[in-house]
């Protein structure tokens, strides 16, 4: 859905891998083999294709361009690159993709990027500022996200953590996470369970049982709780136990970098 992150310098002491690489690896790990995954463009697409090359060769990738079960041998720049059609089990129209494949709940997990996110995992990709008609920043818009967030059995959100992007309350709810928290999703009659995790360049946030507020459950190696809090626009709470994400293995990094190099015409 969103633009590619520009590569950011390693934070803290020099590491063998960048925070963006850690984010992609952590997201890939969250995608189980044999599941059906609706893939947004950007980091989600990187993570899903990385997962297929690591622990999840049977991960089924579905892109909103109607390419079902596609197996691209390089990273597509857009959700509609030809390689996605050439390597798909089936290619269908956009109407069918959303009506027959996404809407009925056939998709196990939707993998999304967001522009702005709030403490209840609601996503804003529409406007920044308090006026829709005169926005401070006009974002691209919804794309497939509202229905991906609503209809997939569960959702994985992958995006960089910063106080600008992780806000107390989004200016515009484009795609519903947990709404006002608690059972608010049910009120909207949603079939899907909602975001199971938000994977960032600093750690992993997960909805707290009951309140559904996003709380910190993992910190990536070399990242401190203070850094994570400083990068969050709300009073970030932590799970009873905050674990440290396993660092990327040499293989994860090697395959990720090979993959990144294959992205045609990447900026």
């Amino acid at each position: 859905m969103s633009s590619l992150p520009e590569t950011r310098e390693p934070v803290g002491e020099p590491l063998a891998w960048t925070p963006d690489e850690m984010m992609a690896v952590a997201a890939a790990r969250a995608l189980e083999d044999g599941k059906i995954c609706f893939v947004g463009i950007g980091v989600p697409s990187t993570a899903a294709n990385l997962a297929r090359r690591l622990h999840a060769p049977g991960l089924v990738l579905v892109y909103e361009s109607g390419t079902l079960g596609t197996r691209p041998d390089f990273l597509p720049l857009s959700i509609g690159d030809g390689i996605l059609a050439d390597t798909a089990t089936a290619v269908v129209g956009v109407v069918e993709t959303f009506n027959y494949w996404l809407q009925p709940g056939r998709i196990d997990i939707g993998c999304l990027a967001g522009a702005h996110l709030d403490r209840y995992a609601n996503i804003n990709t529409t406007v920044i500022g308090n006026s829709y008609d005169a926005p401070r920043v006009r974002l691209p818009g919804a794309g497939g996200a509202p229905e991906i967030a609503a209809s997939c059995r569960e959702v994985l959100i992958v995006m960089r953590q910063s106080p600008r992007a992780f806000v107390e309350r989004v200016d515009f709810v484009t795609s519903l996470g947990y709404g006002e928290g608690g059972d608010d999703r049910a009120r909207h009659g949603l079939t899907g369970a909602g975001p199971k995790a938000v994977i960032t360049d600093l750690g992993i946030l997960e909805p707290e049982p009951g309140t559904r507020e996003l709380v910190l459950t993992h910190l990536h190696p070399g990242v401190t709780l203070e850094e994570a809090r400083a990068a969050t626009g709300w009073e970030l709470r932590t799970a009873p136990e905050v674990e440290t994400t396993a660092p990327p293995s040499a293989e994860e990094i090697r395959i990720l970098r090979e993959l990144e190099q294959t992205r045609a015409g990447a900026a």
Partner: protein, 275 residues
Amino acid sequence: MTDAATATATVVPLAEAISELVQDGDSVALEGFTHLIPFAAAHELIRQGRRELTLIRMTPDLIYDQMIGMGCARKLVFSWGGNPGVGSLHRFRDAVEHGWPAPLELEEHSHAGMANRYAAGASGLPFAVLRGYAGSDLLARTETIRTIECPFTGEQLAAVSAINPDVTVIHAQQADREGNVQLWGIPGVQKEALLAARRSLVTVEELVDTLEPRPGAVVLPAWAIDYVSVAPGGSHPSYTHGYSERDNDFYVAWDAISRDRDTFARWMETHVLAA
């Protein structure tokens, strides 16, 4: 939705088809989902100086960024307005954020909503039903999204009004002499957008004597199409499966070209107006 069915489409030069079909103030859909985006037709519309258009597309992409920047548009009906894999559409943002070169009215949907609106239009129905926009602020923002109750279960669902563009333009690989069209690769919403339109144009890479049946091909009968024009490479910088590759470098380069108003204007002058 074409008023009188005739068994063949008329093959004419692009400039003639555009001037025949599109008037100032029309609603036009130039569709193509990443693949087969009809840039040649858009450039012809820009050269002919069309104004006050309602531009309809799921993904405005560079094609509408150019038309908006050149002042062709009064309104945009869309669902995702970014430069795929690159970032912002700067001319679109400039119009929305600063009203340059003119204010741009927005009618904003999700992909699922837009796809179903085209499907309703193609089906001769006034609306479509979907599980959509749940909890999204779009529901309150967009007049063409409402709720509807299932007459059997009482369940509340989203309803979106049909889209029936005055004119739909799509690009395809081939047409035969009668004007039957064949496209393949990612099919997008082109069939629905074409069938929903009052008038239609298909630009093609080439005319062929017979359409060779192909895996994954969508064939559109000539009697559902008004005009066919030959426009080789007419989808660049997007692509035509089997004829060209997506020019990803250009999509990346567009970010710098379109960021600045003057750079944009010069580029359009050189590559579109003078072309």
